[in-house]
Amino acid sequence: METTKIVGATGPSRPTVETQFDDVEQQREAAQLGMWIFLATEVLFFGALFLAYTVYRFVYGSAFVEASRRLDVVLGGTNTAVLLVSSLLMALAVRAAQLHQRKQLVRLLLGTAFLGLVFMSIKAFEYRKDFVDHLIPGAHFQWTGADPRNAELFFWIYFAMTGLHAIHVTVGIGVLLLLAVLAQRGKFTANYNPIEIAGLYWHFVDVVWVFLFPLLYLVGHR
């Protein structure tokens, strides 16, 4: 892998070190470590739902397969591709921040946020479709298949998992837009840690969807 080492002092402006840190290196490590610890807690936050899914998937397998076929695999698959490409833009944004390319950084952050919005729009369209098809659990849930009760359970889990994920995407879009405004003002020429750890969060949200897509949309073969 071709890598270039950049020492802070060679950039346009010397990185600022907060008083509690010895140097730039330590400051950067602390920021990353903090984010990774937060992501570990997020693993368990989503983990509880993945656990509920796993248990009911094994106990009510056939109802889950049947219910899963009602989801639109084209919309789900397209959304997976949208998030994967958004992660590419995010990784390039961090790179632009490292190289102090301000214009490029702002563009890439906005691009990532835009793809986040595309994801949310497709998701909203999908939820609307589910609503029209009476797939929202509760009083209006309608099921003609063999096991309506456990099909409804699948949709409870589907909406809980995709809903929690959608909240994370929404938060991510907000963070990216805020960072884009701050980047435009030249905030990250001295310290780009916020861009890097926002990137870690965005990639994590992508990873969660990477698991949600096959588990919810591809339960049995189509």
Binding site: A40, L51, T80, L84, H203, V207, P214, H221
Partner: protein, 92 residues
């Protein structure tokens, strides 16, 4: 750990690999493999997650302390799932 700037080609290749894996998992879903459908889909998802973590999240080349935290998160998840399933699968 010194900060590193990665060749953008790496990121483009990473994304291409991820999209290829997506196409694979999508395609395999239309083939009836019985219970292997789930195993294949999960394996591909795990492969994608590893690729994202290594190249986009810079686990490759990062500090060992970060590796430890990443693995710790997954280990607690494994404990959560393993102990719960050991209950469900051993009920009379």
């Amino acid at each position: 750990m010194m900060e590193k700037v990665v060749d953008p080609k790496i990121y483009f290749r990473t994304c291409a690999a991820l999209l290829a894996l997506l196409a694979l998992t999508w395609g395999v879903a239309y083939v009836d493999l019985g219970s292997f459908n789930l195993i294949v889909a999960l394996s591909i998802a795990i492969a994608k997650a590893i690729v994202i973590a290594l190249f986009f999240m810079h686990i490759k080349g990062s500090d060992r302390l970060l590796h430890l935290v990443a693995v710790a998160g997954l280990m607690w998840l494994a404990i959560l799932i393993a102990l719960t399933l050991s209950d469900y699968f051993t009920r009379g």
